[in-house]
Structure formats: C-alpha cells, structure tokens
C-alpha cells in the first residue's frame, strides 16, 4: 500500500467526513488498493464526540478494495 499522508491533513470530527475521506483515499486514482494487516491493534471509539468508550479490535489478513461501475 502506498498512501501520501503529508498533504495538509485535517482533524476528522464526524464519521461521514471520515467515510468520504476514506472513500477518496481508496478510489481517488481509480486504483486497486491492497491492505495487509499483521495483528494490527485498534482502539475503536464508540463515537466521534467527547469521552467515547473504546472497543479493542485486532485485525489480521488482507483487504483489497477497488472501484467499479454502478449497476
């Protein structure tokens, strides 16, 4: 996976904003992007608001995402 994280990142405050940012990262160059996770540990917040609770997730394996035409 090759991702450029340096062009002026903004703080994400809502999950719709996070989702569209993620979508653009995945499809911005019409690329097929493969993520290989090796026991990646994530504390997943229950909300984007203040004082969220966190769930502990651990991810292992491969995820490939690409864009396709709408049917």
């Amino acid at each position: 996976m090759s991702q450029c994280m340096s062009d002026a990142p903004d703080e994400t405050t809502t999950w719709p904003e996070l989702a569209i940012g993620l979508y653009d990262r995945l499809t911005g160059r019409n690329a097929e992007i493969t993520y290989e996770f090796e026991d990646m540990e994530v504390d997943v917040p229950s909300t984007t608001g203040e004082d969220p609770e966190y769930a502990y997730w651990r991810v292992d394996g491969t995820l490939t995402v690409k864009a396709r035409e709408k049917e």
Binding site: T12, P16, I20, D60, E71
Partner: protein, 134 residues
C-alpha cells in the same frame, strides 16, 4: 484521527444525508477480503467476494455486541453500504442472521423496526444457536 480530503463538491459531508448524496455520485466498490478480526474478545472472520462481505461471528452474543457497541449505527452502516453497492452478510457460526446494504431485502419486521436496508433472516439465530463448528 486524521484524513486528507479531496472532495469535488466543496465541504466534506457532516451528516449521513450529505454523505449519501455525495456517495450517490460516485462509483461502487468491490471488496476482496480475508481477515480475522478480534472484536473485544470475539474472533470473527471477514471474507469479501466482490460486492458481498461476509462477517462470521462466533456467537449470537458477539453479534449483539457488534450491533450494540459498533462504531457506526447499524442503520447508518446499511445505508452507506447500499450507496456504494456493497452488501454485508452477518453470520453466526456460518448461519446468516442478517444482511445489510445493497442486496438486502428488508423484511416486514425490519421495516416495522425502521431498520432501513436491513434484512433479518428469521431462522438464522435459531440455526446459529443449534449449530456447532465442524
């Protein structure tokens, strides 16, 4: 948490409705996945087959925990999945219990509960409770 935005239509969406409008103008997604995900002690497998993502959980309790404690409300997740042409099939020990998103056919119960593009598989939880992993 940070992201880099490249939104063609101006400001990034702040609400689910704005997100769905934005995604409506974009292409669908295809997912190929083979993942093992530990969700607060419940180990799930996630397998993607193009437009279908199967999430297999070890117990009904794990499915309920994901429904209750997931980072995104189920109805919102279902709407977003539908807008990018994806369907998530939730399974417990291999037995489908619910489908969310594009190919979900909302049952009368799901519509009554206002669950949006969520299909409940009535026999799924019972089958899951009686099924043992082979």
């Amino acid at each position: 948490m940070t992201t880099t935005q490249s939104i063609p239509n101006g400001d990034p969406p702040e609400t689910l409705a704005e997100l769905l409008d934005d995604l409506e103008q974009r292409r669908s997604l295809s997912v190929d996945a083979d993942l093992t995900v530990d969700l607060d002690g419940h180990t799930a497998s996630v397998v993607g087959y193009d437009d279908l993502v199967a999430v297999d959980l070890p117990s009904v309790a794990a499915a309920l925990a994901l429904y209750r404690d997931g980072p995104v409300p189920v109805m919102d997740a279902a709407a977003v999945l539908s807008s990018v042409g994806l369907t998530a099939e939730i399974r417990v020990r291999g037995a489908p219990v619910a489908r969310l998103g594009d190919a979900a056919v909302p049952s009368r119960l799901a519509r009554y509960l206002g669950l949006g593009p969520v299909e409940l598989v009535p026999d799924g939880p019972l089958l899951a409770l009686t099924r043992r992993r082979g």
